[in-house]
């Protein structure tokens, strides 16, 4: 391998963000290419096939399944109403009839004479997709969705919970090291995306939820507190569907970890601006990171610079992503070629890092370093 390259999280003051907004099934795109949209605008919509409700008519009427077709009041393809009689036995002299009522409104889709089962499909479920960010429609995916683009500040976190939200940036921490406690969250936080420092207590998060903050961005958070919020253990990092109105974005990792200075400074410089955030995370093939997008108005002609993917090399700024120096920032001083034996006994490729915090030079496995991506 010519270069060791561990991509880091993106923290970019100005870039062009492209977001694909797609329907789960084919449907209608309701905007045009070049159209300006706001985050809340619907860009595409469709109807999902309705839920299906099976009902065993043979069991209900106490007859053989093969007799069912003759006892139907409605044919497959007919509309049916809830509680409507869809099949009945002739009874004795028209009396003592057994009746089967439809459990729901919809269409009688199929009836089986082998099993006596009828399938009723409910009305289609309308689904729409919003633009999510203020911007312009730059691409139409026929029948499926659009691409919305905007010039924005773009920041990725490492882990998050909760889905897409939108709110005004409000900086709560004076610096990257401050722990945010319950008392620091006030009514003024309502509708805001709160920028915190190194740590947020569980009680502080609850308070943020209570006052109606739309999001919290913080350096570190206790892993055990995640369970207290969502009610279950997150065993595999696939999130975004949690039932919380306040999305949480962790920028560095679990535990108390100062937010990276450039992340904090960038967020601070955007205070008062509107941001679109999403806590959705997926750490496997097709990686999804939680994100904060702050559209920059009046910069429509900005031309995007491509990030250059240099390998890890002398002078590269890195973040240590595992104990014992977890969370510390530093600079690569040297990249020894030979494998080195770690304290654990493993042989690994290492890099010599000068840590900013204590000016110490340490040898660390390259696998435990993350490049800081800047443009």
């Amino acid at each position: 391998m010519a270069h060791a390259y561990t991509p880091g999280l993106k923290v970019i003051p100005k870039t062009v963000v492209h977001k694909t907004r797609q329907l789960p099934l084919k449907g209608d795109v309701v905007v045009k290419k070049g159209q300006t949209v706001t985050a809340e605008d619907v860009v595409a919509k469709t109807d999902l096939p309705g839920n299906v409700v099976p009902i065993n008519l043979a069991n209900l009427l106490n007859v053989e399944a093969s007799e069912i077709p003759e006892l139907l009041n409605r044919k497959p393809g007919d509309k049916v109403e809830k509680h409507e009689i869809i099949a009945e036995t002739p009874g004795i002299f028209g009396m003592f009839k057994s009746k089967a009522h439809s459990p729901t409104s919809g269409t009688l889709e199929a009836v089986s004479k082998i099993t006596g089962q009828a399938i009723i499909r409910e009305a289609p479920i309308p689904v729409s997709v919003q633009a999510y960010i203020n911007g312009k429609v730059t691409e139409i995916i026929p029948d499926e969705g659009v691409e919305v683009s905007t010039t924005a500040s773009f920041i990725q976190g490492i882990f998050g919970i909760g889905g897409e939200r939108r709110g005004i940036i409000k900086v709560l921490a004076p610096d990257t090291e401050t722990r945010i406690t319950e008392a620091m969250i006030t009514e003024e936080c309502k509708g805001k995306v709160l920028i915190c420092g190194s740590f947020l207590t569980h009680k502080a998060f609850l308070k943020a939820q209570e006052v109606g903050a739309v999001g919290v961005v913080v350096g570190g958070f206790n892993y055990s507190d995640i369970k207290k919020i969502v009610g279950y253990d997150i065993g595999v990092a696939i999130t975004g569907q949690e039932e919380t109105d306040t999305s949480l974005i962790i920028t560095e990792g679990f535990g108390e970890v100062c937010m990276a200075k450039h992340t904090f400074e960038l967020l601070k410089s955007q205070e008062g601006k509107s941001a679109s955030i999403n806590g959705a995370t997926q750490i496997r093939a097709g990686v999804i990171r939680p994100e904060i997008i702050i559209p920059l108005e009046g910069d429509e002609k900005f031309e995007e610079k491509k990030a250059e993917l240099f390998g890890l090399d002398s002078g590269t700024e890195v973040r240590v992503i595992r104990a014992p120096y977890f969370g510390m920032l530093g600079e690569v001083v040297e990249m020894p070629h030979e494998l080195q034996r770690l304290e654990s006994g493993s042989l690994a490729r290492v890099a010599k890092i000068r840590l900013y915090e204590n000016k110490k030079e340490v040898l660390l496995p390259r696998a435990n370093l993350e490049m800081i991506e800047k443009i």
Partner: protein, 605 residues
């Protein structure tokens, strides 16, 4: 080409993150692994062509071997002079592997047989839908709609039985109209392997909405499973549909001389070949970042025929799913293996951080010990799942004689008999790349708790998948390389079963090591000791204490041949059934440290 004329074999395994290539060459009369190369897998953007990663891995093999195999982006075949290879084969688990939903009428019978067929073929089973699974019909439909499998295996009913149950399942499937995971322009493959008399109705219900294949019933009578045809069909459809949808696989399929097999399916193949050839029982485990696979070949309780089983614990792994190990095992279970005191919140945060940064490695010794403690629990839990699944057929009526009246064994009893087990083979990062082999042996012993006399080995570089496909093409080459290059023999674990009072003798062993040293030792309950010895036969005499069993029954002496290895002969007198760790934390830490020292887990830094 005749098998004996084959001079060289190139085999790749395209994993989710790494593509591994091995080159096997005939040296004299035997086949040996000569070099191994690897490169990142290129299924995802920006490359979206699996063959790029394959070619990169092969290039590394070329460089290391110093001879040409590639001509541009083609593998030169057959071998001419020093160029090219005679056979090229591959396995794949990239893009999430093979994901299936299986369905049957009775959860413990046809649905379980269907699950066994799917797992044996190398699939991850996303859900088992059964008529009696406790869910209401509309809940089953919702579930099927929500899942997007690669294919569905539908079974149910014996060949002369009622067709209603399985037709009802097909109606639910039809109503759910499931969509395939990859690609929107083809129909979802469904395999029907149930009651043959229902075939017409199944075709009527599913023929149009799905791509239906009908194969012979996988449970034609209650007493017999016939999983072969369903497994073969799964492999065919995996090639035709799933692989064909993944980027670059059409090219890869054209390059290969044999069908591409799902990686775990191939591992199963080689384990069965070895078990059969050497007439041994085998327990294999592959612990990865996201999942842990357990394979076993044990003997049927009645017929004594070898029975293969595979389970996949989809969310027990050492990186992506490490937090799920914590959730499933609970913190106290992990802590019981950590040989020092640690703050609970700190431990949880460390585990969470490994989940979100899965490629990091332990730098400090303490971090390594924590990771190996978690691995013990991941392995233990995967094995618990395996034991529950590797059972005899359920629902089978047995004729009982008066002599069976007091025997409570019924159908569905686990086939896993640790006392009968000959060898444990481990693979996967945490076992294959442990800084000392002693640690790998300890992890496997602690989590599987072998009983009696059991050999321990690791697959040093996880070659089993490639050898599995090779076994289909060239069994001699596959078994030779497996024994000589793939398996690293670590040694033998001697672990008596049962308990004695604290100061009584638990076992006594005597043997002569190959270097002439004589060993004649007695052990108390709770002791461990290691004798360094090479992989050579050693005649040993083991006498367990009163009521304690080491293979021949309580208190009975065993005279047998044991083998050393890279670690040696491990005496594990800590007890089995029960195996107990001290409850008191300080006492537990002391014991763990004592055992580590005895087995030399963390020495020779």
């Amino acid at each position: 080409m005749k098998p004996e004329a084959i001079k060289s074999i190139l085999a790749t395994d395209c994993g989710s993150t790494t593509t591994k290539a091995i080159l096997i060459e005939k040296q004299g009369d035997e086949y040996r692994l000569v070099v191994r190369g690897e490169a990142p897998t290129t299924v995802e953007a920006p490359f979206e062509d699996v063959t790029k990663g394959v070619l990169n891995a092969v290039k590394e093999v070329e460089e290391l071997r110093g001879r040409q195999i590639l001509d541009g982006d083609q593998i030169m075949s057959p071998q001419k002079d020093d160029k090219g290879v005679d056979i090229y084969i591959s396995t794949s688990s990239a893009g999430g592997g093979l994901q299936m939903v299986v369905s049957g009428i009775v959860k413990a019978m046809s649905a379980e047989s269907a699950e066994r067929a799917a797992l044996g073929a190398g699939a991850i089973v996303m859900d088992v839908i059964a008529s009696n699974d406790g869910r209401l019909p509309h809940e089953k439909i919702q579930r099927i709609r929500h899942l997007r499998p690669d294919m569905i295996l539908l079974s149910g009913g014996t060949d002369s039985g009622n067709i209603k149950g399985v037709v009802e399942l097909s109606e639910l499937l039809r109503a759910a109209n499931p969509k395939p995971r990859l690609g929107i322009n083809y129909k979802l493959p469904v395999i029907y392997a149930g009651n043959k008399t229902a075939k017409k109705e199944i075709e009527k219900n599913l023929g149009e909405v799905t791509d239906l294949s009908v194969v012979p019933n996988l449970r034609p009578i209650l007493e017999r499973e016939n999983l072969g045809p369903a497994r073969d069909k799964i492999h065919d459809l995996f090639m035709e549909h799933v692989m064909a949808q993944a980027p670059g696989y059409k090219k890869l399929m054209a390059m290969c001389d044999a069908p591409i097999m799902p990686t775990p399916g191939a591992v199963g193949e080689i384990m069965q070949v070895i078990a059969k050839k050497e007439d041994i029982t085998v327990l294999g485990v592959d612990i990865g970042g996201a999942t842990t696979d357990v394979f076993s070949v044990f003997r049927d309780l009645e017929t004594r025929e070898p029975v293969f089983n595979r389970t996949v614990s989809a969310n027990l792994g050492m990186s992506y799913s490490i937090s799920n190990v914590l959730a499933s095992a609970t913190l106290p279970s992990i802590l019981r293996w950590v040989p020092f005191e640690i703050d609970e919140v700190d431990l949880r945060n460390r585990i969470g951080n490994k989940m979100i940064r899965p490629t990091t490695i332990p730098q400090s010794l303490d971090e390594l010990k924590i990771e190996q403690a978690i691995a013990r629990e991941a392995l233990r839990l995967s094995f618990v799942q395996h034991k529950e699944f590797a059972v005899g057929l359920k629902g089978v009526q047995k004729e009982r004689t008066i002599s069976d009246a007091f025997d409570q064994s019924g159908s569905g009893e686990t086939l896993v008999n640790m006392m009968d087990l000959d060898i444990i083979v481990g693979s996967g990062g945490v076992l294959s790349h442990a800084p000392r082999r002693h640690q790998s042996a300890r992890m496997m012993i602690d989590s599987f708790l072998p009983e009696g006399i059991t050999q321990i080995a690791v697959d040093s570089i996880f070659m089993m998948p490639q050898l599995g496909v090779l076994a289909d093409v060239h069994e001699k080459a596959a078994t030779e390389v497996f024994n000589k290059d793939c398996l690293l023999r670590l040694g033998t674990c001697v672990a008596p079963v049962g308990s004695v009072k604290p100061k009584k003798e638990y076992m006594h062993i005597s043997f002569t090591l190959p270097d002439g040293r004589k060993v004649d030792r007695s052990y108390k309950l709770g002791e461990m000791e290691l004798f360094e010895a090479p992989y050579e036969p050693i005649e040993a005499e083991i006498t367990p204490g009163r009521g304690v069993d080491v293979g021949s029954g309580p208190g009975q002496t065993v005279k047998t041949t044991i083998y050393g290895g890279l670690v040696g002969i491990i005496i594990d007198a800590r007890g089995r059934r029960p195996f107990v760790l001290p409850e008191n934390p300080a006492e537990r830490v002391k014991k763990l440290q004592e055992w580590s020292k005895a087995i030399k887990e963390f020495e020779d830094k």
